[in-house]
Every structure is written in C-alpha cells, then in structure tokens.
C-alpha cells in the first residue's frame, strides 16, 4: 500500500481543500443602512465581454464601458439620448480656433483612496492615458497638452479641431482615476476612481464576476441607484439566456435567436440599434477588382440586395433595413437615404450592362466562421445578377487586421454607428481603418474638411449629411440593415436605452417602482 493510500488521500485532500478554501466567508449581504433613502436593492448584469484591465488608460467602450462607469466618473456625462451633460466637469468651452478647450471642474469630489479630484488630477489622467497607448488611445489622438490653470480649471490644447473630443470625454478618455494610483500596477487589478461604486475585491473573481458596492457619501446620489452592482461575465449567449431566465442575473443582452426562450419567461425587452451590417466596397479605384471602380457596378450591388429578406433571415426581423452607413442619432442621418437602393435585380443587371460587365464579375472578402451564413445569403442574392462573392477564410482574431490590410477589394462586417465625426474617421476619411485602400476624391475631402471646421452643432450636422449623401450616391458601401440590440431586464429593474452604445450606461438602470 505504498502508493495507493497517499495518492487517494492526496486526491481527496486536494478536492476537500479546494472546496474548503472557497468558503472563508459567507455570501455577501446587501449593505444594511440606517438611512431610509439609501438604496437597498442590488443589480446583477450579465456581461458579454470580460474586463481584463481596470486601469482607466486601458478602458474600452461599447460592451465594456458599463463596469468602468461603476468605478470611475467621466468628465462629461452622456445622457441616454446622446447629449452631453456636466459630470466631473461643470462647464466646457472652446476658443474660436476649436483647438483650445477649457474645463471647469467640481470641487467636492474625492477618489476612493481619499485623494482629491482637481485640475492636477485631470492633467495626470490625460498624460497617463496618452502614455499608456491603451485600447482607446485613439480617443486622444488630437490631444497635445493639458495645463492646470487653477485648482478647478483645466486648459486642453489640441493639435487640430476634433469635433468628437468632448464626446470622448464621456467615454474611455474621460474616465478619471486617482493620480496616486495611476502609475502603479495595482490599479490594473482593482480600480481606484471617484465613481458611484467601489470594487469588493474579496467577492470579485477575475474572468467570472466583478462585485461593486455603493460608495458612501458619493457626490451625486442621483447616479447611485443601487446598493451594489455585480457584473457577471457570461460570454456564451445560451449561458446568458439561462442565467436570465432562471433569475441569476437581472439584465443582459441576448442574441435574436434566443428571444423565443427569453420572451416566454416574462422579461422586459428594449431594442435599439448601434451597428450597421453590410459590405464595404473598399476598392473604389479598382486596384484589385477593376469593375469596382465604376460607380454603376457598386450601385448594382446595392440594388441586388433584398434587405428586408436578409433582415428576416439573418436577424429574425429585429432591426431596420437601410442603405446608409450613418445612424439615426449620428447627426449625419438622412431619412431619404434609407431606401436609396430599393431591391431591383433587373435594375442591377441594367447597371452592370451599362458599365460593360453584363457577364458579371468576381470579388472576394475576408470571412470568419461566424460569417458563413451571411456570405451564403448575400452571395446567393448577388449571384442572381451575375456577381460572385468569394469568401476568403481568415482566423477569427485577424479579421480586423485583414480588412485593414488593403489586400481585399471588399469586406463584410458589423460596424459601430457612432457620432458623425467618429464614423467618418472609422469608415470614410483617408485615415480610416475601414477605408483600407485610402479612396477619396477632392469633393469628398472638401466635405470632410467642412465637418471638421464646423463651429456649431448645426454646421457640423449640415456638413456631415453631405458626406453621407456623397458616399451613398457613390455607393461606397452596400449596407443591409441596422440590427437591434435586444436588452432584457427582469421585473425588479427598469432600464433606458443608450444611443450608440452596445449596452445601456449603468446610470440608465433603476429599481422598478
């Protein structure tokens, strides 16, 4: 029995030890409070994406902004409808060149480590964000320097006008961490901000769940509607749906294909678009596929697509068919462009014939396994007018760099529909990643310059609509539809949608009355 006993014993002891090590303390109790007005309800959100780094310089937007909002305040608050409101900054004004931004700050805010929030802290955060080269580093691409004028005034200098800069101050670049913690490694594991909640590190498990409890004496109790918020990381859609239906989480985003299961369980749904889905016809100069240089060919592609049918088949009808790449709240939206290219295969064939390609042609696009169904359906419709769409398989994680590589004449993708200036720099300007062959024309460049130079929102929107019209008329893209984000809550919680954001901000959640 030399071996058998120790091995068995070791196995049993390991198992027992592992189980016991997991039970040092009881389950977290909701914070008890004598204050009648203090919230007692907690909120558990099922999150799609994991937070791997809590350093605000590594913060991300979209699905990942929510958890950062629990720990960090932003300089500006973005209301659900997209307007900017005061938060840590009470006022913000540009000089006449649009390159000098002055922020007035609150004076009653402290970080969770006791440090005071002031102008120096803002400067430290900007410099840290810039130096760390994080995942949203591009938000400060136009940032040159920041100076503390006095304790509650900061002056920011930009290298060139950036119509999206104040918007970025409500996003990753606006998250303010404690200056004392910014340079250390610890902030990556546990956030140190001035936000409405503080992380309960004892209950938090990296890669699984992040537990936050309400901060006492938070400067703005209106934003702090729960006694605590837990983000449970559930990457699998089925796991998220199961957790929601069985009551383990209060709110989560669910894929269209799981709506039947979730709807049956009596949950509330809000639906709103944040992306557009479609083809980027990248090779507008015909470098790789000469046929694509002809605008009539690109228009033919647009006419060949039955958007209603594709929406029904691919997204179970949850969404809106569209022919424009800009979203309704972007400021560049034009209702008339929604149906700019009605489904008309006959017209598509005519246009191809006019361009001299009556026999059709072949174009390729990078594809990942999840896109197979899209390539099959879109390819089927294009083939009916003689166009062959070839899927070129690439590894999942390489999709974006493949589209950006300049080696593909077209690409299929889901793209975020942001503010006009953000979207222009995402898909249209020569700097844009999704304009990988750097197509442009002098007319278009003039229109883009007008957007950048705009002094008022009205000017900006008027110019942005022109950019939109230009790229739709020139058929730079073949958009299909804007899929709805399907966000569910149980009976204990209400939530308001947040425009241009994959999931609502945490401020939009409230206990059900």
């Amino acid at each position: 029995m030399k071996f058998r006993t120790p091995v068995t014993a070791a196995a049993v002891l390991t198992a027992a030890g592992l189980v016991l090590s997991g039970c040092a303390a009881g389950a977290p109790e909701p914070a008890a409070s004598g204050d009648a007005s203090a919230p007692t309800q907690t909120l558990t959100i099922g999150a799609v994406a994991d937070i791997t780094d809590w350093d605000p310089a590594q913060a991300h937007v979209g699905h990942l902004l929510q958890p950062y909002q629990a720990a960090y305040d932003t300089l500006l608050l973005r209301e659900p409808d997209g307007t900017l409101a005061p938060m840590l900054a009470t006022e913000w004004t540009y000089d006449e060149t649009n390159t000098q931004l002055t922020l007035e700050l609150r004076t009653d805010v402290t970080f969770s480590d006791g440090e005071a929030f002031d102008a120096e802290a803002v400067v430290a955060n900007f410099e840290h964000f810039k130096a760390e080269n994080g995942r949203q580093g591009a938000q400060l691409a136009s940032f040159e320097s920041a100076t503390a004028v006095d304790a509650d005034t900061v002056e920011i200098t930009l290298t060139e006008p950036d119509p999206a800069f104040t918007y970025f101050l409500s996003q990753a670049a606006g998250l303010m961490g404690s200056p004392a913690a910014l340079d250390g490694d610890a902030i990556g594991a546990a956030p140190v901000g001035s936000g409405p909640y503080v992380m309960d590190t004892a209950s938090t498990v990296a890669g699984s769940q992040y537990v936050f409890t309400a901060r006492e004496d938070y400067w703005n109790p209106d934003l702090q509607k729960f006694a605590g918020i837990t983000f449970k990381f559930l990457v699998d859609n089925a796991a998220r749906a199961n957790a929601l239906v069985s009551g383990q989480i209060n709110a989560a985003l669910i894929d269209a294909r799981s709506t039947a299961q979730v709807d049956g369980a009596g949950l509330e749904r809000i639906a709103y678009p944040t992306d557009w889905v479609g083809l980027l016809l990248l090779d507008r100069d015909g470098t790789i596929v000469p046929e694509l240089a002809d605008v009539r060919v690109r228009q033919a592609i647009n006419h060949a697509l039955d958007r209603e049918a594709l929406l029904e088949a691919l997204q179970l009808g949850y969404g809106t068919p569209t022919a424009q790449p800009f979203g309704p709240e972007s400021g560049a939206f034009d209702e008339e462009l929604e149906n700019a290219y009605p489904y008309d295969p006959e017209r598509a064939r005519e246009l191809l014939a006019e361009a001299g390609y009556a026999d059709g042609f072949t174009m390729s696009a990078p594809s990942v396994s999840a896109f197979e169904i899209f390539f099959a359906t879109i390819g089927q419709q294009l083939s009916e007018v003689g166009i062959t769409l070839q899927a070129e398989a690439v590894p999942d994680q390489d999709l974006v760099s493949e589209i950006a590589s300049g080696n593909h004449p077209s690409a299929f993708f889901f793209l975020f529909q942001g503010e006009a200036w953000v979207a222009i720099n995402q898909i249209i300007s020569t700097d844009a990643l999704y304009n990988s062959l750097d197509s442009t024309t002098p007319e278009l460049q003039t229109l883009i310059d007008q957007v950048q130079a705009a002094k008022t929102d009205e000017e900006l929107e008027a110019a942005a609509v022109e950019v939109n019209r230009y790229v739709v008329e020139q058929a730079w893209f073949a958009p299909l539809y804007r899929p709805d984000q399907l966000f569910y809550t149980d009976a204990t919680v209400t939530v308001e949608p947040q425009v241009q954001q994959a999931v609502p901000s945490i401020y939009n959640f409230a206990p059900a009355q």
Partner: protein, 313 residues
C-alpha cells in the same frame, strides 16, 4: 524503480519542451497582427508600431520563444498582453476550480465504473448486456448535450441548482456544491460508461487466465479470488483507462465550463486563444502538459508497483 521513474520524468520534460515550442510557433503561424488586435480598430498605425516594439514582436520568433522559455524556467510566465493579470495569477485562480471538477469527477467515475464493470464481469447475464448498450449510448452522447439537457431540466424547470456557476472565493460550500453538481454529473455520465466497459473486459480476461483455474482447484473462495488476484491483475488496464479519461476530461471541460460559465482553466484557454494572448495561452499549455505528465507518471509508477514486469518493459 528509481531509474524507471527518472526515465519517465525525462520523457515528460522532453514532451514539455516539444509541445511548448510547437504551441508557440502555432500562435504566430497565421501571421496575426497581435498589436492591432490588442489596440482595436480605432488605433493609428503609429500606436500599433509602438505596441509591437513594447511586446518585442519585432524580434525573430526563435528569439522570442527562447526568452519565453528562459522566463518559464525561472518561474516567470510574464503578463497577459490583454490584461493586468500575470499569467501565474491567471492560472492560479482558475486551475483550482478546474481541478476540483476533475478530481471529484474522476473519483466518482472510478467508483461507479468499478462497481458496474466488476459486477457485469462477475454476474454477466442481463446486467452485462445492459451495460454494453449503455456504454454505446453514453459514449455517443456528447458531454455538452448532456449538460444542456441537465440545465434545462434541473436549473430552468425545477430550479434546484443554478444555471450558471456561483463559484466565488467567499461563497459558502453549498454554492460550490450546487454549482459543480451538474457539470460533474455531465462529465461522469460521459466518462463512466466507457470506463466500466474497459474494466469489465479486463476483469473477464483475468478470469479466463489459467491461474484462476488453479486457484479455484485449490479451493479458494470466489470472493478471495476476485479481490486478491483478479482485481490486481486487471488494475493496470483500469488505471490506464481512468488516466486517459482524466486527460480526456480536460478537453471536454472547455465546453462544459463555457455552458456553466465556470471560471476555470478551460474558459481561460478559449478566451486567450481567441484573443491571441500568447503569454496566457502558453501558461495554460505549460500547466496542462505538466498535469498530463504527472498523471501519466503516477499511473506508470502505480502500474510498475502493481506489476513488476512493466518496469523493465
């Protein structure tokens, strides 16, 4: 026995070197632009270049691998490229969860398979036939299908257990128990049928050997023959199949962990691979190979002790 153990340890180390080098090369085989993946679609070319230098991606592959291996030998596996965790932290928080599931599952698999296998071999008849059929069925149903069925019935319909894991450092033991119940059941059902089948065959083979007839002719009781001689003879085959099950579980657990959102090493492996988080993937590979080597070594030693012939083979 000592040289035998050392020889096995040596081949284990060789395996470690070969697999880690292969894994490292594979991570870069697609020519992935990892810096772009880390920074995302909004990053400028300048940012991407900076990140490449920061991660040493501008150096040749073999040089990077040697640097990684050097770090691994001195106990430093580096830091995740996508997060704040060190690789050692990332593995240390997730490995215990996975090992708990595996150890509990293999103990139950061993016990149940032993009881079923031996009973079937000794009694034969209808029980034996039922086992043969269930072995085919149990083996044919993938673990994740079982898992989904279990969730639908016991978590969603009956609400006896949580649908997704509630494992946290300070959760009470009951939470761990309830969270691990369905995953363990799914794994055990899948593993037990084929193991029982193997144990049954091994036991039957022993019964057919001459020494059993000799023992019977000497008047030894059936009970003594089974417990003292037959089981000992059949144990190498049984141990081998269980060790294979244990290693096979590592693969099945990747999917099971996803379905139940268990914060284990499988989930880490999937997310790190999808991202192209090379240091974390390499950490997972390293620890997995070490586990496989240790399990094989233990089984070899156990077999060697039970059956001296194995030692010289």
């Amino acid at each position: 026995m000592l040289t035998f153990a050392l020889r096995r340890l040596g081949s284990g180390l060789l395996l470690l070197v070969v697999i880690s080098a292969l894994a490292y090369a594979l991570m870069f085989a697609s020519g992935t632009n990892i810096a772009r993946n880390i920074l995302g679609e909004t990053a400028t070319e300048e940012q991407v270049l900076l990140k490449q230098q920061e991660l040493g991606l501008d150096q040749p592959l073999w040089q990077r691998y040697l640097a990684w291996a050097g770090g691994a030998i001195t106990g430093s596996l580096g830091r995740s490229w996508f997060g704040a965790e060190t690789v050692s932290q990332a593995v240390a928080t997730r490995l215990p969860v996975t090992l708990t599931v595996m150890v509990v599952a293999i103990i139950f698999t061993a016990l149940i398979a032993l009881i079923i296998g031996v009973t079937a071999a000794v009694k034969r008849g209808w029980l034996d036939k039922a086992l043969q059929v269930s072995a085919v069925v149990g083996d044919a149903i993938p673990g994740f299908v079982l898992a989904i069925l279990l969730v639908l019935v016991f978590a969603i319909q009956l609400k006896w257990v949580p649908a997704v894991s509630t494992i946290t450092p300070n959760a009470p033991p009951s939470a761990w128990f309830l969270s691990l119940l369905l995953p363990v059941i799914a794994i055990v059902i899948n593993a037990v049928t084929s193991s029982a089948q193997q144990i049954r065959s091994a036991v039957i083979k022993q019964y057919e050997r001459d020494y059993v007839r000799t023992l019977r002719s000497r008047g030894l009781g059936e009970r003594e023959i089974l417990l003292k001689h037959v089981l000992r003879g059949a144990s190498p085959a049984g141990l081998t199949v269980l060790s294979l099950q244990f290693i096979g579980m590592l693969g099945g657990l990747v999917i099971i962990e996803k379905i139940f959102a268990i914060p284990g090493i499988g989930n880490l492996a999937v997310s790190a691979t999808q991202l192209g988080d090379v240091p974390v993937v390499m950490g997972v590979v390293l620890y997995t190979v070490i586990i496989v080597v240790i399990v094989n070594l233990l089984v070899d030693l156990l077999n060697g002790w039970l059956n001296p012939k194995v030692r010289v083979a």
